[in-house]
Subunit: 410 residues, 2 copies
């Protein structure tokens, strides 16, 4: 495999971006379409046969010696958020391209066919819904829901499909069957600081955490800040502050399980210098790979709500906005990835993925695993997102070994 | 004095409002001008001579037996904030009107002339600057500052003056001299809950608290909320939450001095469900009538800043935005007001004013005092602001007795 060729792939793909800071390659846009067309050409040059499915997923197939065997697949996405970096998603696609090129260079043949999938619309940035392509491929897409989606310029997902020569009414035809795929692995940047801080080259993902989300509303009294003595107040900000701190305390108590709790949205009303805050709204995101651990944090939040409401004379209520299921990676594939790292003397670390990925949908279809490469300073969804070519090449090496092992060569 | 006539005054004045919830009678608007003209007519009907000064303050004078004696003055304002109630400011003007009408009804003569002043632009709602009229009258207006003021539709204060037949370049001519006024008293709604909760009819104001204000900026790291373990975070919201709670603790420790501390503005960036808050901005208002007590709260805030920055690995800095001096009411007038209440068997309570008033400027010109009447639920700057006519009549009774005592009748 060639580092310089990989670097060139990143440089070439980065040119496909709309105006704005960093990378702006939103799902189902003309820019993403052009990038996809460019990559299709690259995969074809590497000897793969490429098709686009009914959801806009690109499927590049490399023949195996036994065409009837289930495929060994890898892949990720090339759509981005607004003001994105160059590595989220693209790492998994371009490293896979480099692996395919190296197999072509060396004339490697495998028993099972290989596949690289470029999933459509992984990011929720454009339509407010994530991993649409892998959901379609795994039969997890709700037709009524997809018909309701539109971007911020009111272009519907249906129209975006048409612009891509697709028909949303046919998206269910993208669904694949359980026995088509022997194993799926997604290489992705970590998007967190763990590998860098631990000094590890490869993250072997044990499970993909899922969030449970709450909206907490705190109702106090908006009094004049000069004329209301401290002991007559019902300050919604202070109640909200205590609740936010309680989420942190509860999540810190679950450190060993890797569960995290975040108040990412916190707003107060009326928000004037001379008015005691009358109400506060908090959005709480609790994630983990252990449902039990996550539930303990949620329970602690509820207890804090009641305690704060009572102590401060506030009315506080909480709504569950969403609850998704954590997804376990296939334990056999996880063990095999670790063994491959060990054999090669590569420093690995078993860890959960805190973010969602196409792999979490694929796991419902076939044995699935993930390989993480480090993210500098843990940054992601940010123009400063960075993984070095050397780090990506280490990932490529593990990915290649894994694919060949699964697809059985020699 | 007549309760029904007072009620009618409030009803009539409330008709002068722009569209919107509650009362909208912003300073120097046509609507306020019309209200002023209406009141000028009422004062003239009660036998007073009315003039408007160079700042737009209305000065209604009632002759005394000795025209050369300094006047005994009362007054407040009729401009309002957006979505105001009917009592803030207007109470002091309409109760004074009722007192003047009663004196006319009964043919009361005083040695000293009496005066009712309707101060211009008490509220900062339109131009971001408060008590402009009383500042002009007491020579506390900075000309360069006033020339820089504009409302949210970019109408400058200078233009607003022109629309009122005034010239901002001449506003210094509104200044009055120390020996013109023997005493000034302002009746105002409390705008807080103390009188109601204490079951008192009259608040005798001991001092007007003044704020010291700070902007606190908390700089953390905006990390992905799913992929950043709890012990790797530098969450600006949580740092800000601890700072807000520390302000409360420090102010509660000053309860006996009546010092209050409020974080009324609290905003976080980026404010997304899946991002650990990277920065927070807090605006802190600390008020009291004791400079020392206020300073202790400010010092506690600074200590909290350092502690939180250190414990959480955050960068936190604080800017002082403003610092105003508390104003003591004239102790002799305070004693006289208390004595008047005592004589009449009216339940009174000596208390600070947490809000600013025209009286705080007048105190630099002449002996000054304030009378508070209760505010239902402590509400103010709110359409639900309420003081009953009976409560206002109790205030009128004390105001009348005080004016007559100062102006020497019989």
């Amino acid at each position: 495999m060639k580092l310089e060729r990989l670097r060139q792939s990143f440089e070439e793909l980065a040119r496909f971006t709309d105006e704005g800071e960093g990378i702006n390659r939103l799902a189902y846009t003309e820019t993403e379409r052009n990038a996809r067309d460019f990559l299709i050409e690259q995969f074809e040059c590497a000897g793969l046969t490429v098709r686009t499915d009914y959801a806009g997923n690109v499927i590049a197939s490399r023949e195996g010696k036994f065409p009837d065997l289930p495929v060994v697949a890898t892949g990720s996405h090339i759509d981005s958020v607004y003001a994105a970096g160059e590595f989220d998603g693209t790492a998994g696609v371009l490293v896979a391209l480099e692996v395919m090129r190296s197999l072509a260079d060396e004339g490697v043949e495998t028993d099972h066919p290989l596949e690289v999938i470029i999933f459509a619309c992984e990011e929720s940035a454009r339509f407010g819904a994530s991993t649409l392509g892998s959901k379609a491929m795994t039969g997890r897409l709700d037709p009524a829901y997809t018909r309701s989606l539109a971007d911020k310029t009111s272009v519907t997902l249906m129209q975006a499909f048409e612009e891509n020569g697709l028909d949303l009414e046919e998206v269910h035809l993208a669904m694949r069957f359980q026995d088509e795929i022997k194993a799926f692995v997604e290489l992705h940047v970590e998007q967190g600081p763990v590998l860098e801080k631990q000094g590890k080259a490869i993250g072997v993902v044990s499970a993909i955490a899922a969030p449970i989300r709450f909206h907490v509303h705190v109702d106090g009294t908006a009094d004049h800040s000069g004329t209301t003595p401290m002991d007559y107040r019902h300050d919604a900000l202070l109640g909200g502050a205590e609740i936010a701190l309680s989420v942190e305390r509860a999540a810190l108590a679950e450190l060993e399980h890797g569960t995290v709790g975040t108040v990412g949205v916190f707003s107060i009303q009326p928000g004037a210098m001379n008015v005691v805050p009358g109400s506060a709204d908090l959005y709480v995101d609790i994630r983990g790979t252990s449902r039990e651990s996550r539930q303990r944090v949620a329970a602690a939040l509820e207890t804090a709500l009641n305690d704060v409401a009572k102590a401060r004379g506030l009315n506080i209520w909480m709504d569950k906005i969403s609850e998704e299921e954590p997804v376990q990676m296939d334990s056999k594939l996880v063990a095999e990835l670790k063994a491959i790292c060990e054999e090669r003397g590569v420093a690995w670390f078993e860890m959960p993925s805190g973010a969602g990925h196409d792999a979490m949908n694929m796991a419902s279809l076939c044995p699935t695993s993930m390989i993480f490469v480090p993210s500098k300073d843990g940054l992601s969804h940010n123009p400063a997102e960075y993984t070095s070519m050397e780090q990506l090449m280490e990932g490529a090496d593990i990915l290649r070994a894994f694919l060949l092992q699964q697809a059985k060569t020699l």
